[in-house]
Symmetry: C2
Subunit: 202 residues, 2 copies
């Protein structure tokens, strides 16, 4: 049974927010250690033993074992709870959406948001536009799926919804709008209405 955990965290990171939101909904205690996501010096010294990719979030259990990658951390925390299905095929569909998020969604929407909102450097407009275009393709894929569904997998809230909520709900900060994605907007409201929901700023 998981008791307290240490989270190498960033307040502005949607990837970290996924873990914070799930921890809140699981009512697990968490000590947060803020890591700078703009100035990345010293990452190898800070996270070298804990996370091969030297990124946040990184989770450290009270026995010292550590885990990287937001969606792997969520899987570990959620397994055996109501936030992850028990059916083998539904579990695979959750993974499908988690990989979709990290490959087709986050690298576009999160990076556009980083360039426009977080980074102090001026953003290259052509690069931002290319990211937004690819980000809209990811939103289109979600919209096709959510047009006939309440949640991403098995008609039930799961870590797949948390993963895709993280950066979809701040797409405006990536200079994008959801006017053409009404099913996705309705789904965002369903996610936000879950018990013990917390905002990204919490």
């Amino acid at each position: 049974m998981i008791d307290g955990v240490l989270l190498y965290d960033s307040q502005v990171s949607g990837n970290c927010y996924k873990v914070r939101l799930l921890l809140a909904q699981l009512e697990l205690r968490c000590e947060r250690r803020e890591v700078d996501v703009v100035r990345r010096e010293g990452r190898l010294e800070l996270l070298g033993e804990l996370n091969p990719a030297l990124r946040v979030p990184t989770l450290v259990l009270d026995d010292g074992r550590s885990l990287g990658e937001s969606n792997a951390i969520m899987w570990y925390l959620a397994d055996g709870t109501g936030f992850l299905p028990t059916d083998e095929f539904e579990r695979a569909l959750v993974l499908q959406w988690l990989f979709f998020e990290q490959y087709s969604h986050e690298p576009n929407i999160a990076v556009a948001r980083f360039l426009l909102k977080v980074s102090a450097e001026p953003a290259d407009p052509a690069r931002v536009q290319a990211l937004q275009r690819a980000g809209y393709a990811a939103l289109d894929a979600m919209e096709r799926h959510l047009a006939t569904r309440s949640y991403l997998v098995g008609e039930r809230y799961s870590i797949a919804d948390i993963a895709l909520y993280a950066y979809t709900h701040v797409a405006d900060e990536a200079g994008m709008d959801l006017a053409r994605h009404p099913a996705t907007v309705a789904w965002l409201a369903r996610v936000r209405a879950q018990d013990r929901h917390i905002p990204i700023t919490a």
Copy 2:
């Protein structure tokens, strides 16, 4: 129990190779349907009902259910076999490496390889160089980890090794070399020596 499967496949794709290799090692029958990864017209019609990201590989089970994302497909096929650990934390570490692969490794090494080897368009040298630089950072992370280990997780061959073998073993086709990564080169040989191994060209 899984019997025959249909795989929307691409001969040149390392992501598809992961699934082909695991299917061979599990001795599962597979019908392959080749999909063009350069000319992408008609993807929505072909894969729209099967895979939200409209990508290959896409797996279709004999009951018609379908699954996208190479690493989700491998997880589904491997669960309950010797290719995926049973310990909960080791399973989470396998996922950590699968997400690392799709976020930090494949988008750099596979894309550089695509631009240099697969695409008919002339490659932008500055873009290729940036991808190679980020690809080397991913190889450095693997090298740090494999310096003291035989396999990525639990000292045992798993789908984490298959996932990272897929594009690491063709890094030369991305214009990269592994001279500074001796532990990774030794690990590649251990992966290649597994029972029922098949090459990417099979």
